[in-house]
Every structure is written in structure tokens, then in C-alpha cells.
Symmetry: C2
Subunit: 212 residues, 2 copies
């Protein structure tokens, strides 16, 4: 999952570790709290060893002397390679059971603007099915096995059930929206890439913004 997210972010611009973590946290803030360096740095090393990214020490080109008295450690900037882009495309398109879990779905969804519509639909429907199953499990629990559980556990289940129902409704809307054809079909490519091409796909969600 981290691998996918890193590759996706580096496709927008080269970054160093600290920045990467901030962007990661911003993009995935709705699902995960914060990515640990204990995950980030080893993963970066793994990606570099595999050839998906390159690591470049940021030494100031304007350094005249600076006789390295303090052996200044520059920031390490990571850049995605062509193979890395290929790898990302492969990862983003392949769906499995882990794609429909909470974290997996969130990461995939966060990169939907780089995903073709067929895959988007497949993921949304798979996620819906997963949540529907969880919902049924909770319903059964609250129906049949209710007397075996205490009031607090029941309240937890009830709250979880409600969350499931809301998410299914949300997914229905997104699916309908994708099907209605107003979906982006974003040109995924990047060879023309400067950093940050301004892509703004059509609003995937509902038109209502009922937040005060």
C-alpha cells in the first residue's frame, strides 16, 4: 500500500522524505493518521533497490568552498523512473481482496484521477460488496446474538452498522456518477510532464455541499 502511494505521489513531483510524509498525510488524512518513518524509509530503500525510484543527494550546485568541516548531510530527493511509472500503472490497475479493505480502498481511491474508469467501477463495486457483507454480519449480530452481548458492545455494533449503511449509500452515488459518463477518463500518461499538470476531473460526488 505504501509502495503504491509513494509511487503515485512521486509521479506528481520529486520529493524528499519529509515532504513525502507530509503529502502522504495530507492525501490520506481521511483514512490513516500519519505514515511512520519506520515504514517510509525502508520502503523508499526497497523501491530504490528495485529501480522504481532514484535517489539523488541534494548538494547545492553553487557551493564554492565549504570544506566539509561538518560533513553536512543534504536532503535526499527521490524521483520516479520510467519503470516506476510502469509499476504504478500495474499496481493501480490490479484489484484483489486487499483492494477492498479500509486502507487499500482509501489509497486506491486517492489516486482515482490516475485510474481508468473501468477499474474505478470495479473497485467501487468491490468495496460496496465488502461493506455490504460487513453490514449483514452486524445486522445478524444485532438481531440474533444480541442477548449474548452487553449494552456497550451492542452500541458499538449499532454505530458500526450505521457507518456501513452510510458508506454504501456514498458508494452508490459514486458508482451512479461514474456510470453516467460524466466521469473524467483522465489521460494517464505523464511523459509530457512538468511537475503538476493541473488536472481537474469533474466532481465525482454529489452536488450538495451541506456543510455550514
Amino acid at each position: 500500500m505504501l509502495e503504491l502511494a509513494i509511487l503515485g505521489l512521486l509521479q506528481e513531483a520529486p520529493m524528499h522524505g519529509y515532504e513525502l510524509r507530509k503529502e502522504l498525510t495530507a492525501k490520506l488524512g481521511a483514512i490513516r493518521a500519519a505514515i511512520s518513518y519506520g515504514s517510509l524509509y525502508p520502503t523508499l530503500r526497497r523501491l530504490q533497490a528495485a529501480g522504481w525510484i532514484t535517489e539523488a543527494d541534494e548538494t547545492p550546485a553553487t557551493a564554492e568552498e565549504v570544506p566539509a568541516l561538518t560533513s553536512r548531510r543534504g536532503r535526499v530527493v527521490y524521483t520516479i523512473t520510467a519503470e516506476g511509472k510502469e509499476r504504478f500503472a500495474q499496481l493501480i490497475a490490479q484489484t484483489g481482496p486487499e483492494t477492498y479493505g479500509d486502507t487499500g480502498f482509501g489509497v486506491h481511491f486517492a489516486f482515482f484521477s490516475r485510474t481508468d474508469r473501468a477499474t474505478r467501477l470495479r473497485i467501487l463495486e468491490g468495496r460496496r460488496r465488502t461493506i455490504e457483507e460487513r453490514r449483514e454480519g452486524l445486522r445478524d449480530m444485532l438481531g440474533r446474538a444480541a442477548e449474548r452481548l452487553d449494552a456497550y458492545t451492542l452500541e458499538l455494533q449499532r454505530h458500526g452498522l450505521e457507518a456501513c449503511e452510510r458508506e454504501v449509500r456514498w458508494l452508490e452515488e459514486l458508482i451512479a456518477n461514474e456510470r453516467s459518463g460524466r466521469a473524467p477518463t483522465v489521460p494517464v500518461d505523464g511523459t509530457a510532464g512538468g511537475p503538476r499538470q493541473d488536472k481537474s476531473p469533474p466532481p465525482p460526488g454529489e452536488t450538495r455541499t451541506e456543510r455550514p
Copy 2:
């Protein structure tokens, strides 16, 4: 977290691994999908080594002969010890940052009927604060940094923000209930849940219930 959950469940009745996993999945179904054996068995071994639980091979006491031709492996039944109960009480009462994360909070909440009210309130308020901070982060993101993110990511944030707002409201209700000395009451919703008999909640006093 697993340690706490196992200790809590074994306090209700001795169980073997398979059963433990089922009960764990039932009790925590709203937060986690299913506990892996790859976590469960090592943890059981760790708890046994620490003396919190005892491990007893379930050999049928009525076995006259049966000279072990097939070397039948009996089920291993785990029972909590007095030290284990002490350990559980210690774990359930101590709160830290990890208590307010998604998983930690869920596990603690699932055992609220074995938690004294002061601790319950501390946990609910800590959780509320955590979610409020997450909510503020998402609000900032949707306000200030909105133009840097694509439509799908924004939609994800919006959905996450809504979930935060709902959870805060839920927590407010629970906190108010705790303060008023009642058990979790059931909000009138209609969409969520099936039959909801008001099963007599843990009395406002202390907890301590053994299963028959």
C-alpha cells in the same frame, strides 16, 4: 491490543483458540475484520509464558484405552489466571495516546462494561479530542489547500470529515449519558439496527460480572 481483548474474553469463560477467534471477531466486528491466527497463537503463547493464562490440553477424562494410534491432538483450552485478571484490570484502566486511535478505542469500548465510569469518561473524552483534531485537519485541508488536490481526493476528505462529525456527535451523546448515570441509550434512528430491546445495562455502580 490483542492481549487486552484476549484477557477480557477469557474472563467470561475458558476457550480454545478457534472459539476465541470467533468471539473476538463477533465482539470487535465493528472495528476489525477478523483476527489472524498469525497474531492470535503467538500472543496466546506470550500470555501463557507471562503467567496471565494457563493452557490445558482437553483430553477426555473418560478415555479408557485409546492407545494413541492416531496421536489425536486435543483442543487446547485457555483459562485466565488471577494474575491475568489483575493484568487485565491494569491494562483496561491505563490510558495513553494509543487508547484514542481507531483500534485502541474500539477494543477499550468493547470492554466498557468491565471499566469503571471515571475511566470510561476519560476514554470517551480523549477519543473525542482526537477525532476533533482529525476533523480540524480535514476542514483546513478542504478550506485552504483544496486547489492542490484533485476532485477524488477532495471527495474522500469530505466523506472523512462527515464521518468525524458524526462520531463526535455520537461521543457527545455517550459522554452525556455517562455523566447522567445511565447506560448507553439508543438513539432513535430506524435505519440502523433490528430489534432493540433495552437489555439492562451495567448499573451505574461498579461492574464485575462473571458469566454463569
